[in-house]
Amino acid sequence: MEKQVLRFKVNGDEYEVFIHPKTLLAEVIRDHLGFTGTKRGCETVSCGACTVNVNGRSVKSCSVLAIQCEGMEVTTVEGLEKNGKLSPIQRAFLDHGSYQCGFCTPGMLMSSTAFISEAKNPTKDQIKESIEGNVCRCTGYNSIVRAIEAVTQGKYKEE
């Protein structure tokens, strides 16, 4: 019940927040730090819109207590872009029209980013499974899969 201090890194910067232990990572990211790129679309850890990366691994930030991330490195969609240069997967999303309403896009990008970082020439099915924790109601996923595929095939380089 007593608040506690949480020290961790978000998008490369040190943050110190004073929170109730019950506060979810998603709440700290959106409400305390104002990184509203991260969305929320359900209460059942089903939709993946809140996906962020913790120490390079994708997690659903609505299913993680922020306090558990003490000392860890969190990356949100705002952290993919480096001084105005978009990351390969972001550019691939643009080229392939891998978004429509855009509400699931930040989560999709974070799942893809984590997957791409560890995938060695994955199959189409592996790519599809890499985003099966993320719901998109608009695109039918195929354009997202094509974008991830293009990046894993080395068609997009870091700028």
Binding site: G97, C101, C138
Partner: protein, 761 residues
């Protein structure tokens, strides 16, 4: 071919909102945060039908942090509805005064300093109900003994629709074969990723600003003004980025209404966001329909007559259901020529979640019945389903008697292309089959039940000194990419590049009124308005060009890729940017401004233009478990001249995923009026692993009424899929699926029945 003709249209153009969306910069109503903002929550009815005896908020108000609790008594109690023109169809008080009619209906709303406190306060509001008998199914609700849901509405019949042409009975007499079937089509949740959300801010000068997740800022403005007793002009609605709509977000919802009511009492901003569960149980849904279909046909495959009866489960209120009732009946005749056609549609009130429009607008249900029955008839008579569809299909210049005129129609080419594709697949392994289904859809409804005094679409384009343009449109981008489509049309018309156009939309204070994003209307209607506005501006520019270039007035001038030139002598001209500077000077500094609008006239009863398509679904059934695997979807599609290449592919694939979900996954089971799966664990939307390849074959036609020959693309694509899957399963296993969704259990049941029948023979 079109590429040669156009420099922007149907080329690879990034969505103009793309960067905002892939970097997290795009802010939705869900993200809006204002200084001093309070958070609202809604108390909902646990009963499907009950009289509200009393509401006591004393305990809630004692909770520290709670600012207000409002009930129906704190509102003007106005019964509202999107069918504003017809009083009897305005039947919904968002906060009801006397009684609740479905589980989840709002009863009271709280605003507090935090969302958590507001949620706690809900448990401290004491409501006394008198529970009333309830009814959940339309065929029960029309019985004499059924409870009355809306006073004075006999037998709970909400709206009826009769469509008829030709002498139906005579046409049936000519038929060699008549087949009758009953079908049951389920509901479906829109399941927008962004749940219903609104932030309202009312200020002492008596003006309301409302950020809303809506498909039509203009409708929201009109409806809010109506229920709050404000002038439309004093209500400003902002629809920033919208996280999906699919037909569920252009009525007045409880987030908009309750936030506004509370803000008006507190003079503070109030934010209300639905939880996913609220979005399931208390928004609205695709209309569940019972269809009786009787079709008469000649031995040679000529269609004679069709007669259909349809009961739809309207739920507690009208919403857009009245339109769905009509369109379902109309598109049930599509895309074929019937000598006699008769449809009687009945929308019946029940004590369930109200049903309304959803992508396809009643047509997916209608096609599920029609396109399957046609295949069964073909099997009964040994006819070729492709041939029969070709023989009876709409053609250019056909008039649907008294209903519609078909100016462009690529149906036959669609059928030919899909036939080729299917034949090329050759023989399939056991338990696997391909099903086909064809249909058409409208490019915007021409009806004005909202009673808008404004033209259906409007646009204003203003040219800055450097040649960049501000394009103001009222049409709403909800993810389908209309802002990009409008930018493309503007750039093509004006002869500039897409990056020269900044699109302003989703703000009633700055953008001209427009009916918004529904009925596949924006590309054609808003597109025409944008084209007209840009032609207006271009004409003004070219007047200066003639003077500037001092050429013979018989020459034609044009602008392409920022180059103003003589059409016959393209090398002779001047840069567009220079011309704009000169024109500005010549007009005493007035900016060049073009205006355009579109209002349909003499375009029949439904729509100015119709898209056509045929779709094939390749699916496999596990004969032991009944589980369905979709291998591939292929669609041949006539949307006139494609405008936005990437957007079109996205619409096709998105429609396929939503329509496949409707066909075999998504269901909204109710028990005693309670939805049993109001969450994303139990409500099954398709995910990446289930999504098959969904290809598209574009059939180029030219629609004279559309901008650059364009018509609808995206919504209609939801129509054929359920039927195509049904036909695939019929071809694979010889079973007829008459109920949606096609679940493994239903497949097994059908397989069992088939075995039993064969055993009897």
């Amino acid at each position: 071919m079109s590429h040669a003709k156009y420099s922007v249209i149907n080329t690879h153009v990034h969505n103009i909102d793309g960067v905002a969306k892939v970097t997290g910069r795009a802010t939705y109503t869900f993200d809006v945060k204002l200084p001093g903002m309070l958070y609202g929550k809604i108390l909902r009815s646990p009963h499907p039908h009950a009289r509200i005896i009393s509401i006591d908020a004393t305990r809630a108000m004692e909770l520290s942090g709670v600012k207000i609790v409002v009930t129906g008594k704190d509102t003007l109690g106005i019964k509202q509805g999107i069918w504003r023109r017809y009083e009897e169809l305005c039947d919904e008080q968002v906060l009801p005064l006397e009684k609740v009619r479905y589980i989840g209906e709002p009863v009271a709303a709280v605003a507090a300093v935090t969302e958590e406190i507001a949620e706690m306060a809900l448990d401290l509001i004491d409501v006394e109900y008198e529970v009333l008998p309830a009814v959940y199914e339309p065929l029960e609700a029309i019985k004499k003994e059924a409870p009355t849901i809306h006073e004075g509405v006999e037998r709970n019949v909400n709206v009826t629709r009769h469509i008829e042409w030709g002498d139906v009975d005579e046409a049936f007499d000519e038929a060699d074969y008549i087949r009758e079937d009953w079908f049951k089509c389920s509901g479906q949740a829109h399941m927008c990723m962004e749940t219903r959300a609104a932030v309202s801010s009312f200020t002492p000068e008596g003006k309301l600003t409302c950020w809303a997740s809506t498909q039509s800022a203009y409708y929201t403005q009109g409806l809010l003004a109506g229920v709050l007793g404000l002038r439309e002009g004093d209500v400003r609605v902002l629809a920033p980025y919208v996280g999906g709509g699919f037909g569920g977000k252009f009525e007045l919802d409880a987030a908009m209404f309750c936030s506004a009511v509370m803000s008006m009492k507190l003079f503070k901003p109030v934010k209300v966001v639905f939880t996913r569960e609220e979005d399931f149980i208390a928004s609205k849904r695709r209309t569940p329909m019972f269809y009786y279909v009787r079709t008469g046909i000649k031995k040679d495959g000529t269609f004679c007559a069709r007669e259909s009866r349809m009961f739809s489960n309207g739920g507690a209120y009208t919403g857009m259901g009245a339109t769905a009732l009509y369109l379902s009946g109309f598109f049930h005749s599509f895309p074929y020529k019937w000598r006699g056609y008769r449809y009687d549609g009945y929308r019946v009130y029940t004590n369930t979640l109200p049903s309304t429009s959803m992508r396809g607008f009643g047509a997916p249900q209608a096609m599920f019945c029609s396109e399957q029955q046609i295949d069964w008839i073909c099997a009964d008579l040994g006819l070729d389903p492709f041939e029969v569809r070709r023989k009876n299909g709409h053609t250019e210049g056909y008039e649907v008697p008294g209903q519609a005129f078909i100016a462009s129609c690529g149906l036959e080419q669609c059928i030919n292309e899909i036939e080729k594709w299917v034949k090329a697949k050759g023989k399939l392994p056991a338990n696997r089959g391909i099903g086909i289904s064809s249909c058409g859809f409208m490019s915007g409804g021409i009806f004005n039940w909202f009673d808008s005094p404004y033209s259906f679409s409007s646009a204003v384009i203003t040219i800055n000194v450097d040649g960049t343009c501000e394009l103001h449109v009222g049409c709403q981008d909800i993810g389908q990419g209309s802002n990009t489509t409008m930018a493309i049309i503007a750039a093509e018309t004006l002869g500039v590049k897409v990056e020269d156009i900044r699109v302003h939309s989703g703000d009633t204070a700055h953008c001209p009124a427009d009916l918004g994003a529904w009925g596949s209307r924006q590309t054609l209607m808003a597109g025409n308005a944008v084209k007209m506005a840009c032609e207006d501006a271009k004409k003004q520019l070219l007047e200066f060009a003639y003077a500037e270039m001092g050429i013979n007035i018989v020459y034609d001038l044009d602008i392409k890729d920022r180059w103003v030139h003589i059409v016959a002598r393209p090398e002779r001209g001047l840069p567009y940017g220079d011309l704009v500077k000169k024109a500005l000077r010549a007009k005493d500094g007035q900016r060049i401004m073009g205006r355009g609008y579109y209002t349909p006239h003499r375009k029949g009863m439904i729509s100015p233009a119709y898209s056509y398509m045929m779709q094939a679904v390749d699916a496999e059934v596990d004969p032991e478990t009944g589980k369905i695997k979709i291998h591939e979807v292929m669609t041949a599609h006539d949307c006139g001249q494609p405008i936005n290449q990437l957007g079109l592919v996205g619409q096709l694939e998105g429609a396929a995923s939503m329509a496949l979900g409707y066909a075999y996954l998504e269901d909204m089971p109710f028990e005693d009026g309670k939805m049993m799966n109001p969450n994303l664990v139990d409500y099954k939307v398709i995910k990446a692993p289930e999504m098959p390849e969904a290809g598209i074959i574009e059939i180029d036609t030219y629609e004279p009424e559309g901008p650059y020959g364009a018509k609808e693309a995206g919504e209609g694509l939801t129509n054929p899929t359920a039927a195509a899957l049904g036909n695939a399963i019929y071809n694979a296993m010889g079973i007829q699926m008459k109920e949606l969704p096609i679940t493994p259990e239903r497949v097994r049941k059908a397989l069992r029945e088939k075995k039993e029948q064969e055993a009897q023979k």
